[in-house]
Amino acid sequence: MTHYLFIIIGAVLVNNVVLVKILGLCPFMGVSKKLDTAFGMGAATTFVLTVATGASYVIDHLLLAPFGLEYLRTLSFIVTIAAVVQLTEMVIQKTSPLLHQVLGIYLPLITTNCAVLGVPLLNVANKYNFLESLVFGAASAIGFSMVLILFAGIRERVDGADVPVPFRGVAISMVTAGLMSLAFMGFAGLDKYQ
């Protein structure tokens, strides 16, 4: 049990995909202007990432490994993820047009969200089993959503600040992201304590 706990703490806080691993910056900067969109994007990514880790584990172990085709891993993962994203997009468009509108171009962007490819590859590198992979994928996604939402909250507030003109917009957001990353360094070592 503690093993899984450490995987979760590690993925959510200590090795946060965005702030420590610096993966998935594109939606992190793009969809964090408003809290509502951040919630939607977080939910969509969590779903996609969890499904993608599961699907890629299955593909890796049942399809690629038995035939010694590990060299096709990146390619097949990308294809799988793209399909999962497409499916998610269609479902969201049907069930929640508003969310679809809000997520707009960012939903297909999940396809190229490096976090979504990165996490399954990390799973393979860490030699996680199926359950561990799922936990790691979900925890990474929760970590992503969490910082996305916190970031959106701060951005909404900074939006009203008298930021010097050259730093308005993306520039100050980058600074904020950097300072967030600095704060997250405080977690360093927490997953190593035995």
Binding site: L35, L150, G153, A188
Partner: protein, 337 residues
Amino acid sequence: MDFITPPYLTQNVSVRRVMLQVLAALIPGIAAYAWLLGPAVLMQIAIATATALLAEAAMLKLQDKPLGPFLGDGSAIVTAWLIALAFPPLAPWWLIVVGTAFAIVVAKHLYGGLGQNPFNPAMIAFAVCIVSFPALMSQWPPINAQANFVDQLALVFGQSPRLDALSGATPLDALKTALKLGEGSTSVATVTADAAVFGRIAGHGWEWVAAGYLLGGIWLWGRKVIGWHVSMSFLAGMTLISGALWLWNPAHFANPLFHLFSGGSMLGAFFIVTDPVSGCTTPRGKLIFGFSAGLLAYLIRVFGGYPDGVAFAVLLLNLCVPIIDLYTQPPIFGMKK
């Protein structure tokens, strides 16, 4: 006729007065610090203050803002003093200059200056420096050796070999290292038995500095400059988790009193988490903010990789402030259940 918008009457209060009271409340702690650990801290305060005012003036100039009211409001000086108190007193002069300048320029003025920074500037300075210069930020003067002022000045400004003179660590760090090296064979009791280092409660000398901060904090609270919510919940959070672990395994975890009076606990509780700009503003939000900060500070200082956790805990909670505030809005008049 001057243009006045109603109300025509106002209370005689100002930002400047608030900041000056905060500075006054820091004095007992600083006095104890300088008395017990040498006067170098005064030097550091001077360096930090000068840097802060210069950086503030430069940033105001760049943005065409008037210098007078903003330099006079005292907020930059408060930041500077907190940085000086959080840094090791014998850190080289340039370290504190870098930290203070970063705090004022990046953490404060890039966000529009006074009142608009989402992060606590002093804690940003601390975090930046401890991440960038971990060795320098962990060298504290040996507690017993009362170095004279000239020696300390030489350390702050000179090139004298640092490591020989400064092998010390804070009691907090010393305990952590001892426990780690002991691999379970040592217990808290045996490590802290050395009263020369660990004093009666939480480190010889350090406990008096912390008591000074406590005194200043209570005075601030009495003057209604700070509320009780954040400070008390911060201390409560720290007490609760340290108490629980201490009761569970007293050999491995120090008692709550040790944690409350060591490191940046007291400074943090009364002068850092109470920063209104980067903190929560709703009553419930303040409780959550303080409690979580206390909890996190303990977790990071005991389980994490840094000697103290207050700075990171405060920064992490700063991140959460907009969300906490959003979900803890108090009910308004006529909308209560």
